[in-house]
Subunit: 127 residues, 2 copies
Amino acid sequence: MKIGEVAQRAGVSVRALRYYEEQGLLSPERTASGQRRYTEDTVEVVRLFQQFYAAGLSSRAIATLLPCVNNGHTTTTQRRMLHADRDRLATRVEEMTHTLHRLDQLIAADERSATLAEVPEGHHHGV
Amino acid sequence: MKIGEVAQRAGVSVRALRYYEEQGLLSPERTASGQRRYTEDTVEVVRLFQQFYAAGLSSRAIATLLPCVNNGHTTTTQRRMLHADRDRLATRVEEMTHTLHRLDQLIAADERSATLAEVPEGHHHGV
DNA sequence: CTAGAACCTCACGTTGGCGTGAGGGTCAAG
DNA sequence: CTTGACCCTCACGCCAACGTGAGGTTCTAG
């Protein structure tokens, strides 16, 4: 399929697809006139890329996941990098969960003081 | 305290502190000669900023959290924005958790095929 | 009083993931 | 055989969160 259709079905821009190729994430066939032709599964792969990007992975990191995504031919070194990527992501998720809780605490504390401000019955301690 | 000490204790660069000020996140006092003087709690606040930045929040977003962090004086509008920020963060954490699991699946599938490749007993189906 | 460390204000450079033309081929339809 | 939709390759623009001098003032130790 042509680049425009892939873009629409995967929900990204044509420019993005060309960029992914530039980064070595996609290697579509070319017609004699130089136009890119993609296979059906490209759509799913691109959606996966979007997920990884949204998770904060870089093009470089995604490139290391590629052999795994495509066929499963990975070397020991690649597998190590995969685990490293995974662990970094896991750490980030933990940190973000932690941050979310801190934010919740801040909000909760804020709501309490806001409630006190609205209800004049509160015997306020520290305001 | 002076900017250099804050930077060191909070683990950020002097430039970063000046940048935070530019973004309206910090408003240190100034000496007669124009040098910045920070209070002790600035160190903790900056660490909190770092957490929020790491969680993917922008300076703009952090700025909306400021009244909450500082004193708890928030308007209804500000509280709404706080909740919106919180929800966005929660959504991202969920998505990233989801992505992490997908990555784990990919890795697991990869390890299996790698194991099959190493042990020549495997009756491989699809290579 | 003087050196050097630390501070100040511009203001341009960097990295990533694209957006957005410029300028020009290509392909299906009428 | 021409139109218009879609494709191509440069190549500069953008935004965020700082890094990195340049060029100059201020503070502190000896």
